[in-house]
């Protein structure tokens, strides 16, 4: 599939989706239809005749639209037999480089696809473009994060047949993506050795939400005077629930552990 010839769709909300490779051949199962009444519990009792009434304890979750769509995505991914990973980090932590190497290595044995978000340009989508991996670029315009609606539309735009691992490369930002569930099974937070060792302490919510933390660019940590032990301690304090892998996509250090992690997720078929 030639990236020049693929259709770019613009959603009513203003972001654009450009399937760069492996575009869907026919319309995928629709995900953008009207929502069913998602909360119909607790609506049965109808007191009659009283003037002033107190409802029983409802404890009705106030699901925001994003959370409902995220749950829908999760079910869609589950039904398709694939595992979605949401990769979040500051800009420049090495998400795209990691995915390039992952598609060239791991991705040759296990079919992967990528949805990649940026404010502008298709640069990352082009970098990730591989004949064996469907890739769609989401350009958000001014929006600083991906949301579940964008993911639903982007996932429809590519052919996910046979895909076992779906990487979602979020917009580089350590704040807002923490609040937006995309329907992923695994949230991966990257911290690179070019950043401060105290980033987990400064931006705790996103690290708290991580299933896996990747400490990236460890090949240059000595040259940078980066204190790896301190960074690891900070990650452990904020995110004791998360697994930690230290790696360098360029030198290859730690990549086998990352691939083992991916292999443990990929559904056997």
């Amino acid at each position: 599939m030639n990236p020049e010839s693929t259709p770019v769709t613009t959603a009513p909300e203003g972001y654009r989706i450009n399937p760069l490779s492996g575009a869907a051949v026919s319309a995928a199962r629709g995900l953008a239809g009207p929502l069913s009444a998602e909360i119909s519990a607790a609506l049965s009792a109808s007191p009659k005749g009283e003037v002033s009434v107190r409802s029983g304890d409802l404890n009705l979750p106030l699901l925001e639209k994003n959370d409902i769509l995220a749950e829908r995505n999760r079910g869609y991914f589950l039904g398709r037999g694939l595992v979605a990973l949401n990769l979040v980090s500051s800009p420049g932590a090495g998400k795209t480089t990691l995915l390039e190497h992952t598609l060239d290595g791991f991705g040759r044995q296990t079919k992967c696809a990528v949805l990649v978000g940026d404010l502008e340009t298709d640069n990352d989508g082009r970098r990730l473009h591989r004949p064996h991996a469907p890739v769609a670029q989401i350009t958000t315009g001014t929006v600083c994060h991906l949301d579940a609606g964008m993911i639903a539309r982007a996932a429809e735009s590519i052919n996910l047949d046979g895909v076992k691992i779906l990487f979602i490369e979020n917009v580089g930002n350590l704040v807002c993506p923490a609040s937006f569930d995309l329907g992923e099974q695994v949230r991966v937070v990257l911290l690179s050795t070019t950043e401060g060792e105290d980033k987990p302490l400064k931006y705790p919510p996103i690290f708290k939400s991580a299933h896996l933390v990747l400490l990236t660019k460890v090949d240059v940590s000595d040259a940078l005077g980066f204190n790896r032990a301190l960074a690891v301690e900070n990650i452990r304090r904020i995110a004791p629930q998360a697994r930690l892998i230290q790696l360098s996509a360029r030198s290859g250090e730690g990549m086998a552990e990352w691939y083992d992690f991916l292999r443990s997720l990929a559904p056997k078929s």
């Binding site: 109808s46 005749g49 003037v51 107190r54 106030l62 925001e64 629930q241």
Partner: protein, 114 residues
């Protein structure tokens, strides 16, 4: 806030309420929702709805974490570094504090005149 008012409306309409007098929401301290901002949004969004002029009560739900070593729950403060007071181990198992719920409403029901 729109989803709160939509939920209130669904509950109220299903019970044939003619006016909503009081709304109680439960907001976890880790939910990311600022209670004052929520209150402000209610004042801004409720006029013209069934809930116009209703009392808007916010119950804050504290953060509680679980220590797998001691098998007990403990208060987790702001929830960022959750260290068990018993053994000092760090826990990432947050058991409550993320709630964002409509707890209940009080409403007026005027029987239809026949």
């Amino acid at each position: 806030m729109e989803s709160t008012l939509a939920a209130v409306r669904r509950v109220a309409v299903a019970r044939n309420a003619t006016h909503v007098d009081r709304i109680v929401v439960r907001i976890g301290v880790l939910s990311g929702v600022d209670p004052e901002a929520l209150r402000f949004a209610f004042e801004a969004c409720s006029p013209g709805t069934l809930a116009e002029g209703a009392e808007f009560d916010i119950e804050s739900v504290p953060a509680v974490a679980h220590c797998p070593t001691c098998d007990r729950d403990f208060p987790a403060g702001r929830g960022y570094i959750c260290s068990c007071p018993g053994c000092g181990n760090l826990s990432g198992d947050i058991r409550s504090g993320r709630e964002l719920e409509l707890r209940c409403i009080e409403f007026t029901h005027t029987p239809a005149t026949s």
